[in-house]
Symmetry: D3
Subunit: 240 residues, 6 copies
């Protein structure tokens, strides 16, 4: 099946935390979207084995997206050739115009591995002749695919201290659904630290939104510059 966009993150709940409002916005306008988690997020605190995957499927449904959970090992995600190839295969299979992956600057090593992985996978997906590359056979039977844009949402576990972003998306109108989706992961977040994390995540979305005079915004980076046909698409700034 073909999707308009793919969101590739390390664990179930990453896609929701980092860009849940944007996902809901894209699906609300009719785009088909696939969330790919590199692992099941197990072992998780406060959840029996297998529960998190069920939570994740319900959360995806709330956001209007499909979800695929790969069999990576939580905490041990690394940028390997075989995982690059697997992701390239998924990109070819689903032919998305947009791909998203957690931005690299993050204290969690699983999160930090996503940006180089997805960058390589997008690059591999458009190359030909994989039958002549060791291990590349998994790509040999599919057609090359070139995506339009690759964007990186903020991991939110860390300050954007000394950092920056390239654009924000106004998610005021879909934020309620983001919160509903996150609520599915209730067992992960139900203790003290969980509340603290949810507060942290929401504090960033509120702060970014207020910078534009809107309620909530999610931020993104890009490797290559932004090109537009029409600069009137940018929404008003708080002070121009």
């Amino acid at each position: 099946m073909s999707y308009d966009a793919m969101v590739i993150t390390a664990h179930p709940d990453d896609a929701e935390v980092q860009m849940g409002g944007t996902i809901a916005k894209l699906t609300a306008r009719g785009l088909a979207l696939l969330i790919v988690d590199l692992c099941s997020g197990e072992p998780a605190d406060y959840a029996e084995p297998g529960v998190r995957a069920q939570q994740a499927q319900r959360a995806a449904k709330i956001l209007g997206a499909d979800r695929l959970i790969l069999d990576g090992q939580d905490r041990l995600i690394q940028d390997t050739i075989s995982l690059r190839l697997r992701l390239a295969q998924l990109i070819r299979d689903h032919q998305p115009r947009w791909v998203f992956g957690t931005a690299e600057a993050c204290v969690h090593p699983d999160h930090a591995a996503v940006e180089p992985l997805v960058t390589a996978a997008v690059f591999y997906a458009r190359l030909d002749n994989w039958d002549r590359v060791p291990g590349g056979e998994i790509l040999a039977t599919t057609e090359p695919w070139t995506i339009e844009r690759l964007f990186f949402p903020h991991c939110k576990m860390e300050p954007a201290w000394g950092g920056s972003f390239n654009f924000a998306v106004d998610v005021s109108d879909t934020y309620e659904r983001k919160k509903q989706a996150l609520a599915e992961y209730r067992s992960i977040f139900e203790v003290d630290e969980g509340d603290q994390l949810l507060n942290l995540y929401e504090a960033e979305d509120i702060h970014m939104g207020r910078l534009f005079g809107v309620a909530y915004a999610e931020i993104f980076k890009a490797h290559s510059p932004l090109l537009v046909d029409d600069l009137t698409v940018f929404k008003p700034g708080l002070h121009g």
Copy 2:
């Protein structure tokens, strides 16, 4: 008269060099646009006094924009309170949604003065009670006006060395008109150095365009971050 956008630069030909393709694009979709030059660009090499203003009017017409030439002195443009107030008055008079002014990092001191001037003018334009501020009377009879966005095109006289930009506009389809507009300033550019300058300007537009696989692009900075409702407005990158 009200305009959708105002482009404020130091000299006639700056608007054309820095964002002529973008201007043509905006007017082509029916937006009303006013170019404001802070001075006449006199004394200019290779042109009799007064000629440059006529060239500028013809160039603006080619781009589909109106043009106003203020009586500043070429080479001596500075960020003064009175010029801020004069520009704020123009902004109130013409009620633009978008304002543009040359980005500050430039070897030409006239260009470097534009960004602080325009930034302050946009801020002044939205404040009330100017009758109670010395010199502010020129704003007292007009209504406060809040623009939507303020963007800064690149001065192009200098490398973007160590610098960056926030977005580019694909101007492939209006570049021919940009070149026609620049051709009006033929007496300025007709000698050796002129050719060198035109080549320099065009080399940047080509280089920026090729980074996206399009023919020509013009680049812009912004003080505050970019907010969009829909990130699918960004055009494809060369490699995602």
Copy 3:
């Protein structure tokens, strides 16, 4: 009279918005603190002439600080030699160990003028022989004074987009007093935009606080690096 610290900002309410929690914290431990506003903040929306100065004095009292309002003109604050000298005189008169002034990167031209002004004033304050400098006589009868550190709070009107800060102060325990002080300026903030501004300011303090697992934090820049005797003074980070 001598003060331990001076906070120099453009308008009444700037000190409160930018570092009200830090001020309350310093005075709570017995330090004497003087707030210097470069102008009265008039004309202000929604307040009769003279009212804002009274609000400011009440707000300072809540924070435990004294306040001096200079006779600059709101909106027209600039970095001039005479204002540098006036501030240097105040620094000599009050012999503070710490001086604070709004960080330069701000859309409001009054705010942007504070950092160069205060930087020069601190430098002037420690030089000798002002009787031999035109205009310097106002410093000639006072003794040179060298402060310990100069810090710059964030103006908060703009995103810290692409920017950074050097340290934050945990103001969780004094934030209630900050809010009480800001409430004094009720006539300024009582309309829609006012609420929006207060929300914006508070959103930054919350967001910065959550990055450390505390309720509220205020951020600061410094020109020269931070030197400590004992690095155990740094409080825990959220992730180390």
Copy 4:
């Protein structure tokens, strides 16, 4: 045994070179400190096998710290899952409040591997349920441990060219002990290049110190911002 701080660097002498003065300062105030070298630093020029480990133990004693030398291979240190887990185990065993590791930007590949290794180890140390992660068993019998802060001293082999640091520690009063500790590694440094290296290291400490008007200072980076309760802990700058 529990330690207040752990310093994790690649080779014996790294801890001394990079932050010997800070180590001596921390132990002088009664803190217990463990230096962990990832390898023995063999083969070293100008020292018989095994000699360097003895030098390292004497140097640690001079600084008042304990020392543990792991069995990594000099020159081949890399960021691997198993080494992350081993370091996480050490962190759990010794429950430090502060952890230090060489900053990544360094020409020596062993040094460059320390920052990602230590960052991941600190993160692993606080997670639970390692019995359910392949290879994680070595953490399964120990309790999760959350440190307070993670700091990165400068490798000193390279210029801080284009770089920066987050704070410096005044080590004027313990510098003599740093030099005594380094003198233990006499066989490594006794030839021409050695002198050159020691001069290079000391030149940075002197230069950094002079920027504050003190004799010697050591510099540190941090991933996440600095939070203080009391900004009066910062020592005077040379010019405020």
Copy 5:
């Protein structure tokens, strides 16, 4: 055989694209230069197996350089200990004063691997006692070698967006030979995308050249700062 300089890049044609003009310039003044490709660049579009290696040898000859093609696998180049050691061995064998390798910031994962690989290889090459390091035996029979400078040409596949460079080389007088060398790779570039790529590469060289008023320039980064005996070696800037 000994060479004055070695250029280490991932694929045949990288050296030409990234710094072909500089190579021709160095060989024109009599320096001996070796290009080392980490792999054959196979599978390549539009070329039979083995053809690209022949093209590469002809291109090197046009530039006056020798060429060695290693047996790495296109698309799968990574920073491994064994490849570091192999490159260190080549550096020792050929004793270059200057080494070049593609700068890391590049969308192609093969290109991104070159900078850490070459940095480590240069470092390994100057160390002694490799017989006592596992796998280091391949260096044990050669003499340590210390190069003078390591520089990194731009990969050219990506914008220099937000980036910078340390110096440029005026290649106007050898650019014709660069184009001849690139023409050898005709089968790679003969389709649409090829033209697009060649245009992209040339657009950067033109743009960089025009910034100085010369026809073409190639840009380079360096890890450590530039030291000169005589700053009059820098050529004129367009505006000083």
Copy 6:
């Protein structure tokens, strides 16, 4: 008289402190060099009026340079049109190929004014038709002059904290003369703070030198990138 290079700084001793070794190096190879001080540096501590000018002339002689002291007012140097024009006139009169001026990032407001002043003066010097610009008459009788390069030495009063430089000059062989020149200003530096300042300045030169394995180096910035014909002019780095 025509000079090969002009060094424009605020006060007598600035040229010596910031680039005395480079000046001595340029004059040693036969280049004619003019130092221009924007003011006499009066009132100075510890020197009778007029003494500093004499010291300055002797110091210039030691460095092999001529010196011109303008009549600006110490502490009150600002970027004004009239001073720009005066400096442009000097540049035209002396037709230097290289111009130097203190880099802007400095705590001393006089130093901070030099970079914009010199940048504008260099730009003014090459423009024609000054008889048609108010105040420009002082340039009307001289011929336009275009310099080759404009470089900015470091003010040295502040850390290069968070900053960077573009190249360094090895001044090991002329450093003795730099120290002799500085010794002429003995009355300024003879007290405690003076020693501290001289130590600070020298500490930077030593530190920068040691980064390359040489005794002393002075650092410079440039507005526009460095272009070379021959990259073999760069001296060895400590680690390549």
